[in-house]
C-alpha cells in the first residue's frame, strides 16, 4: 500500500515520526517531489488566494502526489508536545477540510487526529479509525505509533548541537545538500518555521547564499530541547502554536547567548502567528542590541531580492564588528 506524504509543512519537522509509523505498518511511503515552480503554480491554482505560501505549497504537493498513491496523509495535528496549552496554526488544523473542499479527484485522506493531551481511551478511538482505513488491527497501529515516537525522540536528540542546517536537514529528512563551509567571520541565527528554512525553493536558497558569504548559520532546531524549555519562561504567556514557540524560544536563546552577530527572521507573507512572533523577536533583539531583519517570502520572492537584502545585512554586521 502506498502512502503519500507531501514534502512540506510537517515533513521538515516530523518525517521520522510519519515514516517510522507507516513503515512499521508495512506500508510504502511516497514523498512528493522537491518544491518547484510547477508545484507552486498548482498550489496557487487550487488554494484559496488569501492563504499564505506554505498552504499554497501544500496544495501543490498534494496535487503532485494524488495520482500515484493509495492514501494521502494529511494529519489533523493538534498536539505532539504534551505542553497543555499549545496546538498548531489554525491553517494546519483545517488542512484536511481545506484540500478536500478545493481539490477534486483526491485519493482517500488519512486525516488522523493526533492529540497527545487526550486520554489513552480517546487516542485509542483514533487508532481504531485509522486501522479500519488501512485494513490492519488497532493494536498494530498503536504499536507502530509508539515505535515511531521513539524514533522521533532519538532524531531530536541527534539534532541538538549540530553545526549547520544541512546536517539538520539530513537527519530530519535524509535529503542531502552540498555543504560549503568557508572561514566564518560572522555567525547568524536564522529563525523561522522548518518548512520555510529547509525548503530551498521557497526561500530562494537563503541558507546556501549565507554560506557562500562565509556566514555560519544557526537554526532553532540546533538548540537542545531543554534549553528551549527554559527559555519559555522569558515570556509572560506561551504562544498557542508549537512551531512558533520553538522559533521564539530559539531566537531568545540566541539573543541571550551573545554568540550570534545578528538574527534573521524568515517568515511567509501574511503569516498570522508570525506577526506576533516577529514583533516579540524584534523587541527582544532591540533590548539586547542585536541586529535584526525580517525576510518575508511569497510566491513572487526572487533570488536577487533576497540576495541584496542578505548582502546588505551581512555587510552591515561586518562593518559593525570591525568598528568594535
Amino acid at each position: 500500500m502506498k502512502i503519500g506524504i507531501p514534502r512540506t509543512l510537517t515533513y521538515y519537522a516530523y518525517l521520522p515520526l510519519w515514516k517510522g509509523f507507516f513503515e512499521a505498518l508495512g506500508c510504502e511511503v511516497v514523498v512528493s517531489d522537491k518544491t518547484s515552480k510547477g508545484i507552486l503554480d498548482k498550489g496557487v491554482e487550487y488554494a484559496v488566494n488569501d492563504a499564505c505560501i506554505p498552504i499554497k505549497l501544500f496544495h501543490g504537493h498534494v496535487y503532485n502526489l494524488k495520482e500515484r498513491v493509495d492514501f494521502l496523509f494529511v494529519p489533523r495535528l493538534l498536539n505532539l508536545t504534551r505542553e497543555k496549552t499549545v496546538t498548531y496554526c489554525p491553517k494546519f488544523l483545517g488542512l484536511a477540510d481545506m484540500v478536500r473542499a478545493s481539490m477534486p479527484g483526491l485519493p482517500p485522506l488519512l486525516d488522523f487526529r493526533i492529540d497527545l493531551r487526550k486520554k489513552r481511551k480517546e487516542r485509542q478511538r483514533e487508532f481504531k479509525r485509522m486501522a479500519t482505513l488501512l485494513g490492519v488491527r488497532p493494536a498494530e497501529v498503536d504499536r507502530a505509533f509508539r515505535r515511531a515516537q521513539r524514533k522521533m525522540s532519538r532524531t531530536l536528540k541527534d539534532l541538538s548541537g549540530k553545526g549547520n542546517p544541512e546536517e539538520v536537514l539530513g537527519i530530519l529528512t535524509e535529503d542531502t545538500r552540498n555543504v560549503l563551509l568557508p572561514p566564518q567571520p560572522i555567525t547568524l541565527a536564522v529563525v523561522g518555521y522548518p518548512y520555510l528554512l529547509y525548503d530551498d525553493f521557497v526561500n530562494a536558497g537563503l541558507i546556501s547564499k549565507l554560506h557562500k558569504m562565509g556566514v555560519r548559520v544557526l537554526t532553532p532546531e540546533m538548540v537542545p530541547e531543554k534549553t528551549l524549555k527554559r527559555k519559555a519562561k522569558s515570556l509572560p504567556k506561551d504562544l498557542f502554536w508549537t512551531f512558533s514557540n520553538q522559533v521564539v524560544r530559539g531566537a531568545i536563546h540566541y539573543i541571550d547567548d551573545g554568540e550570534v552577530d545578528g538574527i534573521i527572521h524568515v517568515t511567509a507573507f501574511g503569516c498570522g502567528p508570525d506577526s506576533m512572533v516577529g514583533k516579540l523577536i524584534e523587541l527582544e533583539a532591540k533590548q539586547k542590541t542585536v541586529p535584526y531583519i525580517c525576510i518575508s517570502l511569497d510566491e513572487h520572492t526572487g533570488e536577487a531580492g533576497v540576495l541584496t537584502r542578505l548582502e546588505a545585512f551581512v555587510d552591515m554586521l561586518k562593518y559593525r564588528r570591525d568598528k568594535q
Partner: protein
C-alpha cells in the same frame, strides 16, 4: 485609577457603568476613526490584523487622555487575538508608557488567576457593590444587543430615510443614563416602543442577508463601515450571528453554540479558532432558513477565516446560496465596500426574481 478598555460596538456604554460603579474614573474609548487606525498601524506589526491595529490606536489615544490602566480580554487560541494583550503591553512599554495592563483570561482555565486580576479592579468594594456592578453591566449588555438587533429588523422597511438611525441615537442616550436594574429594564421597554413606532412600509419584503465572520469586524461598525446599517439603508434585512453578550456567555462558564458546530461538522471537523467554525456552521443554518445571501466579514490575513473561506466555496455551492467575502485592512475604503455591496444586492434581487418567475 483612570481606566480604559477596548471599543467594540456599543459595549463601552455597559463597561463604563460597571467600572464607575466600582469607584474608578473611566476614560471612554473613542469611536475609532482613520486617525486611530493609522496611529495603531504605525506601531503594529505589518501583518497583525486590523483589530490589533485599531485597539493599539484606541489605547494610545486613551493614554493621551489620561488613562492609567487598560482592561482587556485574553484567550486560549489558536486564534492569535488571545495573545494581543501580551503584545500590546510589550509595544506600549517599548514606547515608554508605564501603564497597568490587565488581561482577563477566560476563567475556566485558571480561576484563581481570574479572581486575582479581577480584585485589582474591584479593590475594597463590598461584595454586594461588585455583584451589582457586574450584574447590571451584564443586563445592560444584553439590552444593548436586543435594541441593536431590533433596529436592523426595522431599518430596511422604514418609510422615512434615517428615522431608525435617529431613534437609535436617542435609545443609546436613554440606556446610557439607566443605572439601576429597574431603570435598565424600563429603558429596554421605552426603546422597544420608540423603535416600533418608526413608520414602516409593511408591503416591503426585504432581501435577507446573514453576516458571519470574525467577531471584532462584525461587531465594530467603525471597522466594517457600519455595514449592517448600510445594508439596511439599501433596504436589505441584515442579521448577524454574533452578539457580544451571547458570545461571552457561550465562551466562559457555559457551553453554547453546539448546534452551530454540529451544522459545520460535515465540512469542517476541527475547531480552527476564532470564529472559523461558527462561520461555516452559520452559513449552513442561514442557507437552510432560506436567506438570500451570506456576507463574510474578516480582517485581512485572519487565519481562521481564511480556513473557513476556503471551505465556504464548497458549502455555498452545495446549498446554492451566494457568498460575498470582505477581507478588511487599513487600505479598505468605504466606497469600495459600498460598490461591492450594491452589486451583491443586485445579484440577490435578480436571483429572487428568477425564482419567483420560475414558480409562476
Amino acid at each position: 485609577m483612570k481606566i480604559t478598555f477596548p471599543h467594540m460596538g456599543s459595549s463601552p456604554i455597559a463597561f463604563r457603568m460597571m467600572i464607575e460603579k466600582l469607584g474608578h474614573q473611566v476614560v471612554m474609548p473613542l469611536r475609532p476613526n482613520e486617525k486611530t487606525l493609522s496611529l495603531g498601524s504605525h506601531y503594529s506589526p505589518e501583518f497583525a490584523c486590523i483589530p490589533f491595529k485599531i485597539l493599539l490606536g484606541t489605547y494610545l489615544e486613551a493614554i493621551k487622555r489620561g488613562a492609567e490602566m487598560i482592561i482587556t480580554s485574553g484567550g486560549m487560541g489558536p486564534c492569535r487575538a488571545g495573545y494581543y494583550g501580551v503584545l500590546h503591553e510589550k509595544i506600549l512599554k517599548d514606547l515608554g508608557y508605564d501603564i497597568d495592563f490587565v488581561v482577563l483570561e477566560p476563567p475556566q482555565k485558571k480561576a484563581v488567576n481570574f479572581i486575582k486580576k479581577l480584585s485589582k479592579i474591584t479593590r475594597s468594594n463590598s461584595l454586594s457593590v461588585v455583584w451589582d456592578a457586574l450584574s447590571t453591566a451584564w443586563q445592560k449588555l444584553k439590552v444593548l444587543d436586543l435594541i441593536e438587533a431590533l433596529s436592523y429588523e426595522i431599518r430596511p422597511r422604514e418609510a422615512v430615510k434615517n428615522e431608525t438611525t435617529n431613534v437609535m441615537e436617542e435609545c443609546y442616550k436613554l440606556i446610557d443614563r439607566a443605572w439601576t436594574k429597574e431603570e435598565i429594564k424600563e429603558s429596554l421597554d421605552r426603546c422597544t416602543k420608540m423603535l416600533k413606532a418608526v413608520k414602516t412600509k409593511d408591503s416591503i419584503k426585504p432581501l435577507k442577508v446573514g453576516i458571519i465572520g470574525e467577531i471584532y469586524v462584525v461587531l465594530e461598525p467603525a471597522a466594517n463601515f457600519d455595514i449592517q446599517r448600510m445594508l439596511g439603508d439599501m433596504g436589505v434585512l441584515a442579521r448577524r450571528s454574533i452578539y457580544l453578550a451571547d458570545w461571552t456567555k457561550d465562551n466562559t462558564f457555559f457551553k453554547g453554540e453546539e448546534h452551530i458546530k454540529k451544522a459545520a461538522k460535515p465540512y469542517l471537523q476541527e475547531l480552527v479558532g476564532g470564529h472559523g467554525t461558527l462561520s461555516v456552521g452559520n452559513t449552513v443554518l442561514y442557507a437552510k432558513e432560506g436567506y438570500d445571501g451570506i456576507i463574510q466579514l474578516a480582517p485581512f490575513a485572519c487565519i481562521p477565516e481564511i480556513v473557513s473561506k476556503s471551505i465556504l466555496g464548497k458549502v455555498t455551492s452545495d446549498l446554492d446560496i451566494p457568498l460575498l467575502t470582505l477581507f478588511i485592512d487599513e487600505q479598505t475604503g468605504k466606497a469600495g465596500v459600498k460598490t461591492r455591496l450594491e452589486a451583491f444586492v443586485d445579484l440577490m434581487q435578480s436571483r429572487r426574481n428568477h425564482k419567483r418567475e420560475a414558480l409562476a
